[in-house]
């Protein structure tokens, strides 16, 4: 149960949503875009997310797009279950299949996960690694940008800006990938860490969630992992030096244990996706 009151709007066009956002702001409200609503319900009931107006984007056609020509376009309001059912992006599917549980995935949306308050945002990992692009809407119009340009810890949206779509080149979708989600225990729930990797032009690229308080892809880390002068273990040790922030230490596991798991996982990635040549 949510003890605060909030307005609920369900626009049917992008422009309408953007204007509503500004209008609500002018009324002194703090509107938020609303998609699956799972965070508003679960964080709202414990007052970890408080809002006085929500703008539901699920009735906006562009946010429900699914198109595939030379690239795949997925609307931000597609649910994770939709993404799984489409069977067009195996890497992304593998990532979202492990988020929450089936009932929740019927509600959680792709855009909602990318812009989530909950820190894991695992849908971002394949998108970062495949150099996907995102379509944003603001009152200035639509803009398309690489997600890597805007995703720093979280998606850097301007006030009122709306994530509409995600686009990925089919070529990138075909690349060999590896993703593993390690939990404190058993098969459902938040990650201890989730590590995703992609092999492109003989190099391994890595993005990680659950290690720090935000998901990230780090170039220096990737360079270390691809440093053929070093043994596998040396590469991993070198990569660990580039973890961009404090390692989490929480109910899912200690920081030291996360590092232990990360090392094992990176070893598996280098074994599966290549790069093990110099490991004597």
């Amino acid at each position: 149960m949510i003890s605060y009151d909030f307005d609920y709007h369900k626009p049917t066009a992008i422009q309408e949503a953007l204007e509503l956002f500004q209008a609500l702001k002018k009324q002194g409200k703090k509107p938020v875009y609303f998609s699956g609503g799972t965070e508003i319900i679960t964080l709202g009931r414990v007052n970890e997310l408080v809002t006085d107006a929500v703008i539901d984007i699920k009735a906006i056609p562009e946010c429900n797009t699914y198109k595939q020509d030379n690239r795949l376009i997925l609307g931000a309001a597609l649910t994770l279950t939709n993404v799984l059912d489409l069977q067009s992006f195996p890497f992304l599917e593998k990532a979202v299949a492990e988020i929450a549980d089936n009932t929740a995935r019927n509600k959680i949306t792709l855009g909602g996960n990318i812009c989530a308050n909950i820190i894991y945002r695992e849908a971002v990992l394949p998108l970062l690694l495949t150099d996907s692009r995102i379509l944003l809407a603001s009152l200035d119009g639509l803009t398309e940008k690489p997600i890597s340009e805007l995703f720093h810890q979280e998606l850097q949206l301007k006030d009122g800006e709306l994530l509409v779509q995600v686009m990925t080149d089919l070529e990138a979708i075909q690349l060999p990938f590896y993703i593993v989600k390690k939990r404190r225990q058993w098969g459902v729930g938040y990650p201890l860490i989730t590590v995703a990797a992609l092999r492109k032009q003989n190099k391994v690229h890595v993005a990680i969630s659950g290690l720090c308080s935000f998901p990230f892809r780090n170039k220096q880390m990737e360079d270390s992992l691809n440093n053929e002068q070093l043994s596998i273990d040396e590469r991993i040790e070198a990569a660990l030096k580039h973890i961009p922030a404090t390692v989490l230490d929480d109910v899912h596991g200690s920081d030291a244990y996360r590092i232990f798991v990360l090392k094992n996982t990176l070893r598996d990635i280098l074994r599966v996706l290549g790069g093990a040549e110099n490991d004597g």
Binding site: V251, Y257, F260
Partner: protein, 774 residues
């Protein structure tokens, strides 16, 4: 002919449940009903300096705000707990204030606006800390608290009860031993996590009668406690217990009912509903014990146990509730199902600043078995002996004496050697305990034996049977249907005894303490024994009344008659009979004369010959029969990262008699899953200040679909002569050996003695190489 026993008739509650029609407490809605929400403590130990309700009162729809009164104090054995905290909070999540409002969201909003000023006090975060010299006393008035006899709080300490076991001569035991082992074990409190969170509705009618509807396992206890604590007449307290969505012992405690009563009083007796959120249900409501234990075992080199010296420190949390009885049960069962001539055990109920505890499925047995059965494996390793062989050499057999010096017989103990033999078979034990299946993968087996009794004296049950004019029968029993199916089993027992179709037996599901005869509590695996025996007695009573009337109709002695097939018939001339439906409301002769009257079967049963335990030695008869079993777990273990899969779990249990086959299977498998879940994932995580980190299901670690192993269950039937058709309690045994069996398998797999729960990959890593890493 076997009418129903051993079969699996459709449960009497199944259609209501599968269609969603079944009503649980929270489903009852009334136009006049007001709603209660709590403000709870954000500190684990603090003085309440100020509680400011000014802003909360301004919220529209708020009728009243109640703060905790300093008295009366409540508690089952030791009265140590205020209804809500009055001047001191002793655990994180302890109720401080209750808001009554028109709508739940208004009550919630107001509760959020109550401003509490705390003065933090030193926090006790484990039983060991609580026993340190100079430790903060959580209950300065412990010595003056009202209590029942045979509970022994120790003044000016944090010890709410101590039970001692002194059997044989411990120093002689050490003299006779060739080998000894010593180890310490511990785990934190955890939760019941029943699907239905606790809920109650309280209303005081104009005639002063207090009606309580509650998700409770103990409606008759609520009635007695309300009378006692609030000075009410027992006849003016009526408790209704509809379906309960799982209890596991957690709904034996009375807590929110007291708060809701104060709330109803504050609004002139109007009905008020208090429904706990999941967080409140996990933390504010009573939880499962934690434990610190140390154990020393001695044995001859042939593997004969000679001595056991054990200390069990039960983490009872802020109040004792059932903690003192859990302590007694821990002591009484302290050695597991093994015969040891020399035993010294101290079980202590220790106050800490954790949520307070109540019963949990297994009532100390699984906790104690984790310690003892781990110790047995450590001993077996030191003896270089197969762990099952070590157990076989020491198991309790008829003629041996328990730690409380009760002599066992075939009826009271069943046949554990049979269970062990069968377990070896099922687990393919001869294959060996460890099989390498890949470079870094091992398939590993672990085992545990188990035994369980119920340390409940004075428990009784009554049953009334009413006949309908068509000859069908209504069963009235005070058992609460908490999901275990006992009410269907009562129908089966009656079908068997009256030799009639179970479909013509109707069971009253909802309990109403005003009109349904009392049943002790729906707990401790005692439903079938207590209510079953009461029912059989009621059936005999009805049979004798039916025979009496029929004897006049058939003009013969009642002794020549039998009841069955909905008839009363002459034993050796069954074609001479009268239909039950024609006599169950008396019989009318063709000339218009009537004889007899409505047949009402009455029966009761009380556990016999149980005694209190002697304070110095623990001698006494602690419980009726023991249910014994042998259990195992097979895992696949990754030697690189210490993750593991649960492949198979086994339970071989001597349950006396299988009454409802599928229900028994369901009870055992469900219990096994709880045991494995507790052992592998479930726990409260406390900060240094005893704040519980994230008391939410999303992080707590309950099993989800797909996490389960394959369950294998086998039953033996050594009758318990006192039990209905020989049945033993079976609600808990599936659980109690599982933590030890899992820990034993993982200790073998990881090559390190694991002594803490839960057994997550991280905890194994810590045990294995954590120290190196640091």
């Amino acid at each position: 002919m076997n009418w129903s026993i051993g079969k699996s008739p459709t449960r009497k509650d199944s259609l209501e449940k599968v269609t969603g029609a079944a009503k649980y407490t929270a489903d009852f809605i009334g136009a006049q009903m007001l709603h209660v929400k709590l403000a709870v403590s954000s500190h684990a130990h603090a003085k309440l300096k100020k509680i400011d309700t000014a802003k909360a009162k301004q919220v529209p729809g708020v009728h009243a705000i109640i703060l905790g009164p300093a008295s009366p104090l409540t508690g089952d054995e030791v009265k140590d707990r205020p209804i809500m905290a009055s001047d001191t909070v002793r655990y994180y999540g302890e109720p401080i204030a209750a808001v009554v409002a028109d709508h739940p969201f208004q009550a919630k909003k107001a509760a959020e606006l109550i401003e509490v000023t705390y003065e933090p006090l030193p926090v006790i975060n484990s039983p060991k800390e609580a026993l340190q010299p100079g430790a903060t006393l959580l209950h300065k008035d412990l010595a003056t608290y009202e209590k029942i006899p045979h509970v022994y709080p120790e003044a000016n300490t944090n010890i709410a009860n101590r039970t001692k076991i002194r059997k044989g001569n411990i120093s002689q035991g050490w003299d006779e031993s060739d080998i000894t082992i010593e180890e310490n074990f511990s785990f934190s409190p955890s939760d019941h996590t029943a699907m239905e969170t606790r809920c109650t509705i309280v209303e005081i009618k104009p005639d002063g009668v207090v009606h309580i509807t509650s998700s409770t396992q103990a409606p008759y206890k609520i009635k007695k406690q309300f009378a006692e604590i609030f000075g009410l007449e027992e006849g003016k307290v009526v408790v209704h217990a509809p379906f309960v969505g799982g209890g596991y012992g957690g709904k034996v405690a009375t807590q929110l009912e007291f708060i809701a009563y104060l709330a109803s009083v504050a609004v002139g007796g109007k009905p008020v509903k208090l429904l706990y959120t999941r967080e409140e249900d996990m933390v504010s409501a009573p939880v499962r014990i934690g434990l610190d234990a140390s154990i020393k075992l001695g044995a001859t080199k042939e593997g004969k146990l000679t001595a056991a010296e054990i200390t069990y420190l039960i983490d009872s949390g802020a109040y004792s509730d059932k903690g003192s009885m859990l302590t007694k049960a821990a002591a009484a069962t302290c050695t597991g199902p093994y015969n040891i001539e020399n035993v010294s055990c101290d079980a202590l109920c220790v106050y800490t600043n954790h949520p307070y505890v109540t019963a949990y499925r297994g009532f100390s047995h699984s906790e104690i078995l984790f310690v003892f059965e781990r110790a047995m494996d450590i001993l077996a390793k030191k003896l270089k002996m197969d762990p099952l062989v070590l157990r076989e050499k020491n198991v309790f057999l008829p003629g041996m004496t328990t730690p409380t010096q009760t002599v066992l017989n075939h009826s009271t103990v069943g046949n554990l050697p049979n269970c062990i033999d069968k377990l070896k078979d099922l687990m393919n034990w001869d294959e060996g305990m460890v099989v390498r299946v890949a470079d870094n993968k091992l398939r590993v087996k672990g085992i545990s034996c188990s035994w369980k009794t119920s340390t409940i004296s004075g428990a009784s049950s009554g049953v009334v049977l009413l006949f309908n004019p068509d000859g069908s029968v209504n069963v009235l029993s005070g058992i609460v249907e908490i999901g275990m199916g006992t009410k269907t089993i009562l129908a089966q027992l009656l079908a068997e005894r009256l030799k009639m179709d179970i479909n013509k037996i109707h069971v009253q599901m909802e309990v109403d303490t005003k009109v349904i005869p009392e049943h002790y509590k729906t707990a401790a695996s005692r439903g079938t024994l207590l209510a079953g025996r009461a029912l059989l007695k009621a059936a005999d009573d009805a049979v004798s009344q039916l025979k009496h009337i029929a004897s006049h109709v058939l003009t013969c002695s009642p002794d020549d008659l039998e009841v069955g097939y909905e008839k009363v018939y002459v034993r050796d001339e069954p074609e001479t009979f009268v239909q039950v439906k024609d006599i169950c409301y008396g019989y009318e002769f063709p000339n218009g004369n009537s004889i007899g009257g409505q047949v009402i079967g009455r029966g009761n049963y009380t556990l016999r010959h149980l005694t209190n335990l002697d304070y110095e030695t623990g001698a006494g008869k602690s419980g009726p029969e023991w249910t014994v079993g042998a259990q195992g777990v097979e895992i696949e273990f990754d030697t690189t990262d210490y993750t593991y899969k649960l492949l198979n779990a086994y339970s071989v249990i001597d349950i006396g008699k299988v009454l409802h086959y599928k229900a028994a299977m369901g009870q055992v498998m469900g219990a096994m899953s709880m045991g494995l879940n507790h052992a592998s994932a479930e726990t409260f995580q406390f900060t240094q200040d005893a704040i519980i980190s994230s008391p939410r299901l999303r992080t707590y670690g309950t099993f989800r679909y797909g996490d389960h192993p394959q369950y294998h269950v086998h039953f033996f039937e050594t009758p318990h002569l006192d039990g209905p058709y020989g049945a033993r309690g079976v609600g808990e045994n599936g659980l109690i050996g599982m933590p030890a069996a899992l820990a034993n398998s993982l200790s073998i797999a990881a090559g390190v003695e694991l002594t803490k729960l839960p057994l997550t990959p991280e905890s194994i890593w810590r045990a294995k190489e954590g120290d190196e890493e640091k």
